[in-house]
């Protein structure tokens, strides 16, 4: 399902590319940083729309959100596995509010900078922050993850909780994160994986086929687990680590699920989206969801697959593989010496 959607998105992108020279390019670009980004620039997501989604989410957001808090908590758990402290930390958009809530002194963070592209979201965070007096020194920036405004070698830790899957140039954004890290700095990210909302994906497709005789992309192409590993190594992170978690959330109805997605700013922001959703189709989706996936107690489950990525900026103290061909002892000899009893 997901790969089908991704392939469709790619196909549409090809079309878009061919047409691009006709469309005036409104984006600023500079000679040095712009070139690298321009090379692989594909526009899948409407970042301006996503920014408006996040403005809305700043108001719709609940005080606590069990799903997001669980993800943030799991992400921050990784800090406890490190013996290192991270005095200056940077948190990219997404559910940074949940990261702040679940921090509870982990990772030895003294200074936390939070960035989002929505002004309302940043103001909301600052408002919540002013209510609490403990915790690290807080700074706030309005900025875009695709154009990270952070100096090279300045941060010990860069986190992103459920934000990176809305970025067009993900490798580019991750490379910028790596550059902003100090040597031996940690990059931690949680993104939604391809299994996410598979029930809703199926219900949407069936309802659209049934009512409209065709489908339009209602959901983003999301990363698969293998993509996450590739992304980390492509961005040049050392000691990459990827793991996956799956959360099932029960809702009373599909409408409640959509409300929750809105509060998390996780609603459709594809460029290729259809701007209209017929009332009929929406209701049919809810009904199909209920009948196909509904549980005995009347609730409906929704799957969220979260991929956690860990990577370090290179440092001489990190373990490295030896150069190819540099071994002086053959594996055969080692086996003769140590492994004879296992044969």
């Amino acid at each position: 399902m997901a790969s089908g959607a991704a392939a469709a998105a790619r196909r549409l992108l090809l079309l878009r590319h061919r047409r691009r020279h006709l469309v005036p390019n409104h984006h600023f670009s500079s000679s040095s940083a712009g070139e690298e980004l321009d090379g692989g620039r594909v526009k899948i997501f409407d970042r301006d729309l996503k920014c408006r989604h996040r403005d809305r989410a700043a108001w719709a957001m609940r005080e606590t959100d069990p799903l997001v808090d669980a993800v943030a908590d799991n992400l921050l758990d990784r800090l406890e596995d490190c013996r290192k402290a991270f005095p200056s930390a940077f948190c990219l958009g997404g559910s940074a509010g949940a990261v702040r809530r679940s921090l509870r002194g982990r990772g030895g963070i003294e200074k936390l900078t939070m960035m989002d592209m929505s002004v309302d979201m940043v103001n909301k965070w600052r408002e919540l922050e002013s209510a609490t007096d403990d915790g690290p020194e807080m700074h706030f920036i309005v900025g875009d993850e695709e154009y990270l405004p952070i100096k090279e070698n300045s941060q010990d830790l860069i986190m992103s909780c459920l934000g990176l899957h809305w970025i067009n140039d993900l490798p580019g954004a991750m490379i910028q994160c790596r550059l902003a890290l100090k040597p031996d700095g940690l990059f931690l990210a949680a993104i939604l994986g391809g299994e996410t909302l598979k029930e809703l994906r199926i219900a949407c497709t069936i309802a659209q086929m049934e009512r409209e005789g065709g489908i339009s992309p209602r959901m983003s192409p999301l990363a698969q687990v293998r993509d996450a590993g590739n992304l980390l190594s492509r961005a040049g992170f050392a000691l990459p680590g990827v793991d996956v978690d799956r959360y099932t959330v029960k809702y009373n109805s599909a409408l409640e699920l959509v409300e929750h997605l809105r509060a998390m700013a996780e609603t459709n922001a594809l460029f290729q989206r259809s701007p209209i959703l017929k009332r009929d189709t929406a209701l049919a989706t809810a009904a199909i969801y209920q009948s196909m996936f509904g549980l005995e107690d009347g609730t409906i489950p929704a799957t969220f697959q979260v991929i956690y990525m860990t990577g370090w900026k290179e440092h001489s103290s990190q373990q490295k593989p030896k150069r190819r061909g540099s071994a002086t002892v053959s594996f055969g000899d080692i086996r003769k010496q140590f492994g004879s009893n296992q044969d």
Partner: protein, 87 residues
């Protein structure tokens, strides 16, 4: 809220932004240092010829919020920058 904002304003030197934050900010496009322009109350990137607003103590470094600086002659920008960086 008020108390905190006042504290922030007292602590910093750079137009409502804490010094510690101003030190790590760069132009999102050119990745070159930014300087604070007191006349316009904004952060100016001399390399990218752009200025970014500061709204209520929060720097807005979205590329789309950046204003291209075309009205000023190029030399004067460099002069201010050298003077600013020295203090």
């Amino acid at each position: 809220m008020m108390r905190r904002t006042t504290a922030l304003l007292l602590r910093h030197a750079v137009g409502g932004i804490p010094q510690a934050l101003a030190d790590v900010l760069v132009c999102p496009l050119s990745k070159k240092p930014l300087r604070y322009c007191e006349v316009s109350g904004s952060l100016v990137s001399d390399a990218g010829r752009m200025s970014f607003p500061i709204a209520d103590g929060i720097p807005c470094l979205l590329p789309k919020d950046g204003k291209l600086l075309e009205d000023h002659p190029r030399e004067s920008g460099y002069e201010t920058s050298s003077r600013d960086s020295s203090d």
